[in-house]
Each structure stands twice: as C-alpha cells, then as structure tokens.
C-alpha cells in the first residue's frame, strides 16, 4: 500500500525511519483506529493490569478492539492469533511483540494460535524446506521461552498443517482476485501464484476456531502495522463466508539497533540475538546502539537527550517491570542528568538478565515442544 508521499508499507517492504507522525498517518491511510486513552484504560481495566506496550504507545492502533472488549464483558470471550515468518535467528526485536501477546493471553486467560508462515518464506525469500524446518523449530523454541500457557497455545506450521489450512484458504481465495491482490500488496504479473494465494492461508487462523466449533468466536490479532493489508482483506471476505471480521491491535516497528525501520536478520550487528552473551550484548549496545544522546557529555548535561529515538531506552521501557523507574530514567536522560554511557550500561545489564531467563526457560521448553503443536482436536477441546 503506497503512502501518499510514495513511501511503501506492505508486509514485505517497509520504508525506513518512520516517526510518530508517520505512524499516525499510516494508520489513518489504512483506515485503522488509534488507541486513545479511554480505550487503553478500558482494555487495561478488563485485563486487570497495565502494560508498557500500551502505555508507551507501541501498540497504538486497532480495528474493532472495542468489540473484543464487549465480548469480554458479555462473556462471549475471544481468542488470540499472531504469527511469525520464520527466518534466521530471532532478535530481541522479533520477540518483544510476543511479550505483549503473552500478557494478553495471561490477563484474559484465552487461547492463542501462533501461525508459523514457513510457506511465506519459501515463496517470498526463496528459502528451502530443509533450512526452514531448522529455523522454524528454533524460532518456535525462542517464542515459547516467553512462557505461554501450554493448554491454550496452539502452534500451527503452514507447511505441516495443510489439511487444516488449504481447504479453508480455498474458501477465502474465491473472494480475492488478482486485481485486488495487486492493489493491496503491489504484486506484478511476474510474481509467482503462490504469493497471490498466501494471504488466504494467512487469514485462516482468524476464523479457524469459528469454523471448527461451528459458532462464531471473535479473534484478536496483535501484529505490526505492516501486516494490516492481509487482515484488511480478511475483514472484507469473512462476512461473505459467515464469519466475524477479525479484530486487530497493531504495533509500530521496534527500531533497529542502528536506528531506522525494521530490524534485519541478515546483519549480525543490527540487533541483539537471543543467544548473545552478556559481553556481546554490552559491546553491541555500547558500540552500535543508536543513541538519542549528544556528541559530548558536556552537551548532554546541558541540552539533554532524546529518549524517543534511543534504541537502548526504547527496549528498556518495554522490558522493565517497574514502570515508575522507567519514567524517572526517561526524565533523567531527557534532561541531561543521565549520560548515554550510564543508560547503555544499565540497559545492557537488564537485557542480559532477560536473555538469561529466556535461555533457562528455553531449555525446559525443548522437552515440551510437541505439546504446543496444533491439532484440530486439541483446539476444539480447549474451547470446551
């Protein structure tokens, strides 16, 4: 979907360096709603607690989130669906949105489908199954290390769950033509037909529960805003199939270590890997992390820093449980009372702490891996 100024935001291409104003404009151009204070308060009240991803404005836009909250209040309930296109090692930036999803699952005690779109990577990135199968397993372990509810978490792998997905994707695909795909995703005639079909596959988990149970259950999809075109199409198609439109809660991109748009998996210094040692984390933060500080300590003492563009602060504000402390540090940093070096040292330590916890949990998860994998029976059971 081209923005008015000709920069592109599609699920496969994101222009660099989006600022706050850009995000608001993207949301407006996509036709999404902005999460205002009232809606955020209502969500947090029903969740029984606050969340930094909301309070810090990282999850900032939505479609029909209010309808989800109505269904919480009236006892109909809902379920969560999110996904990952498996590739390379996971960065901290890849994992952060899953932390928010985990919070939603815990707070509302709901089922969650995690779709692993290995077919997407096969079709769009020319990766091969053998490579993808290893990456997929590792990515899943990384995600699960966050501690999702094993009874209510269902990992659906596109290349393996075709009997669930294909038939239902066919239903969706009957309502999507090439003209629409080109307009929404910017495809050309030279693009392969698997790409055109893929959005139908990606839409299935958003009505899968309703399809399996034979009654409508609302689906809430936490995702980065670049995935919105997929679900905008779903929202047009689902009512034609007798299903509810999916609701979305959408995030900005986490800035990459060096600043700019989405983190990249290909550059080892573009992000913090989950298996980076404390030494490596420290080095990356100190050497590469884009700083909102000034060029000299003197200037910073005098003029203060810009926390909003500072990679270290942006990660810190999401992983620190004590949000009052985040506010204090933000203020100190912004006013020049705290220097970049001090901030970076503290954040590097905090990140390494989080990574150590994840690593420990990951080792436990290896054994229970299979329990999380999707089956139609288990999904149906978990709604009984």
């Amino acid at each position: 979907m081209p923005l008015n100024d000709n920069r592109e935001v599609t699920p496969w291409e994101v222009s660099e360096s989006l600022g706050e104003g850009d995000y608001l404009r993207i949301a407006r151009e996509f036709g999404a709603g902005i999460i205002d204070n009232d809606l955020r308060n209502r969500l947090e009240r029903l969740a029984g607690g606050t969340n930094p991803f909301l309070d810090q404005g990282v999850f900032f836009a939505h479609r029909d989130l209010d309808l989800v909250l109505n269904d919480v209040e009236n006892g109909n309930g809902f379920y969560l669906y999110t996904g990952r296109g498996p590739s390379g090692k996971m960065h901290l930036g890849h994992l952060l949105p899953f932390m928010f999803t985990r919070w939603l699952q815990k707070s509302f005690d709901v089922n969650l489908i995690i779709q692993i779109t290995d077919d997407e990577k096969y079709l769009f990135r020319d990766l091969e199954w053998k490579e993808l199968s290893e990456v997929t397993r590792n990515n899943i372990l990384d995600i699960l290390s966050l501690g999702f509810d094993p009874q209510k978490t269902h990992i659906l792998i596109d290349s393996l769950n075709g009997s669930t997905l294909y038939r239902r994707a066919v239903e969706v695909s009957r309502h999507i033509n090439v003209t629409l795909s080109k307009a929404v995703f910017g495809f050309q005639d030279s693009d392969n037909v698997g790409k055109y079909f893929f959005t139908s596959i990606q839409s299935v988990p958003a009505f899968l529960v309703s399809s399996l149970l034979g009654r409508n259950v609302r689906c809430l999809i936490p995702h980065a805003i670049d995935q919105d075109p997929h679900f905008k199409v779903s929202r047009d198609v689902f009512p034609k199939l007798g299903y509810l439109k999916p609701s979305s809660i959408m995030s900005k991109f986490l800035p990459s270590l060096k600043g700019g748009g989405k983190m990249s998996s290909s550059d080892p210094n573009s992000g913090i890997f989950l298996d980076d040692s404390p030494q490596v984390v420290r080095k990356k933060i100190m050497k590469y992390a884009f700083s909102g500080g000034r060029d000299t300590a003197e200037e910073q003492r005098k003029y203060g820093a810009n926390p909003d563009v500072d990679f270290s602060f942006n990660v810190y504000r999401l992983i620190e449980e004590d949000q009052a402390k985040v506010s204090r540090i933000r203020e100190d940093y912004r006013t020049g009372a705290m220097l970049s070096g001090e901030l970076k040292t503290m954040v590097a330590e905090k990140i390494s702490q989080v990574l150590a916890q994840l690593k420990e949990k990951r080792e436990e998860t290896v054994e229970s891996y299979e329990e999380f994998l999707f089956s139609e029976e288990r999904l149906i059971d978990s709604f009984q």
Copy 2:
C-alpha cells in the same frame, strides 16, 4: 490455449464438435505426440493384450509414453495418476476413461492415484463443500465400481488431503507466475487467486510418489486432451524441483448423447447416467442418441451409415469385449446391412448389461470405500 482458428480448448472450456482432424491439430498445437501403430503395438505387447480405447483411437496422443515403456522394460516401473472434478451424477461418458485406466493398472500391476479435485469445483463452479462432499462420495463409488485393485489404488481428495498437497503445491507455485497462468489458462485479473493456485495442486500427484519415496518414479497420466495445459506446465516445472517430467496418454472427448463436444452433467438427457434403468437407457438411446444413420431405412440400406459420429456405436466399440464383433457390426452399419434401430436396440441392451454389473459391484464397494482412501503411509507401503 486458443487454437489457431480462435476456438478455445482449456481445461474449463471446450469448443463443440471436434472432428478427427481437429484432434490431430490440437495435439500438434499443444506439442503432444500422436500414438502411431508402432507405439501402440509396443504398449499392447508389454501390457500383454489389446485394448479398444487404443485400437479405436480414443486414447490417441501422448507425451513421453515411450519413456514409460522403457521403464517397464528396464524394471524401474511406473505409476498411474488420473483424476476427476466431482460434479453431479456420473455419466457413462465420465466413466469410460476410467475403464482404460483400470486396464492399464491391471495389465502392468501398478499403483494408481485418483485425485478428486473438489477444490477445483469450489473455485471454478461456485459449488459449496456440503454439496461437493456428497457428490464426491458418490463419484468415488461410481469409479470404484469398475473394480480397481484395493491394494494399489489411492484416492486423494483435495479438500481433505491438504497436508500432503499444500506444501508440495507451494513448491510448484514458486515457478508459475501470473503471466504464465494467463497465457496457458486464459485467466484474467478478475479471476480469483485460488484458480491461479489450483494447477499447482493438480500437479502434485504427478511427483508425489517420488517426493514421498525420495527417489524418482515415473508417472503416467491418462487424461482427456483438454487437461494437457496443466501437465505441460508441470513438465516445465518438475525438473527445476529435481523430479521427472510426467508422461501423459491423452484421449479425445467422448461425444455426448446428442452429438457435439463434452457431455454435460446439467442436462439429464445429454448422457446415460449410471443409475438409469434399462427402460430409461433404451428410451434415451432410441430418442436422443445422435445417429450416424440416414433419415429413412431405405436410404440407409442404399448408402449406409457413418459409425464415427454415431453415439451408440461409439460407446459400443469401447464396452464390447469381442472386438471382432465390433468390426463386423461397424461394417454392417457402414454398408447399410444394419439399420440404426437394430444397432440402437443392441447397444441399449449392452449398456444396460454393463450398468447392471457396475451397480452390483458398487454395492460391494460401499463397505470397502475407506480402504481406498489415500494416506501417505499406505502409498509408501505399496511401493515397498
């Protein structure tokens, strides 16, 4: 694929009234080979018997049939794959090609995959699953009533076997773009994306055995010539995936009861249904069957009939075991020694005889239905 004279032959559109010369031209334009006497003799010699579908020129064209016969001779073997887009009740005309496939299976003692493309009907004919599921079951029973080998016959239903099909269709689809699909199938931008993806699904059984066994086994596809565009695309793509090009043996269309091109399921008088009573068969043949005879008995005695365009004779020559008798009758009919009424009476009885046998066998088949359904394990086992 438009013919040079602007008539269309695609898997979904066939111009009416194709004559012998048209078929030869279609084959030539498609780039297929014609089955000459040498090739037919070699096939029948290796099969250990003759077959009317070959001798009468109904299966008349091929791709790489000689390579299949090489693989028979050198002990590598091969397997068969054919399919059916389920719809309505089956006509005798739908079933006849399966008789030829059964002969191939029996003669060479080989495995056979029968793909039921209910997804195709969902996407191209706007049918719904509920309706398709009933039709599918009935069509399968009709096909099985011919008596396929239960150990070596594998019925694959697209909507149910997605876990086998989708992942592999994705592999194929990476090599097919929209430009190619438009050129080969005549699709437009207004066509749904499921249609574009479908040919990849239809191609999977042609390399499925090789994919499951991890070694190449040649596939021979008996099909009506209108399906050739699908497999022509497969032949371009498979080598890129490390698989053998599929071989084909292609038939003309059986003329419809009233003459002209493909039989239609929607007009009850356009063909003989498998559950038609002897009375109905007789009535349809007498009243509707397109005749190659003359307007009056006198003229026919004098000038003779044209057996080649005569529906009754065209069916008879394929279902009569005694091919010497077929030759005698052809000669009598052609020269005027036999009148249309006599021929029709005899053929109606023969057809009712065949239908009665099929009906009996069909009732037995209902109980063993499940045994024929595809599973990856069973397919692999049947090649051990």
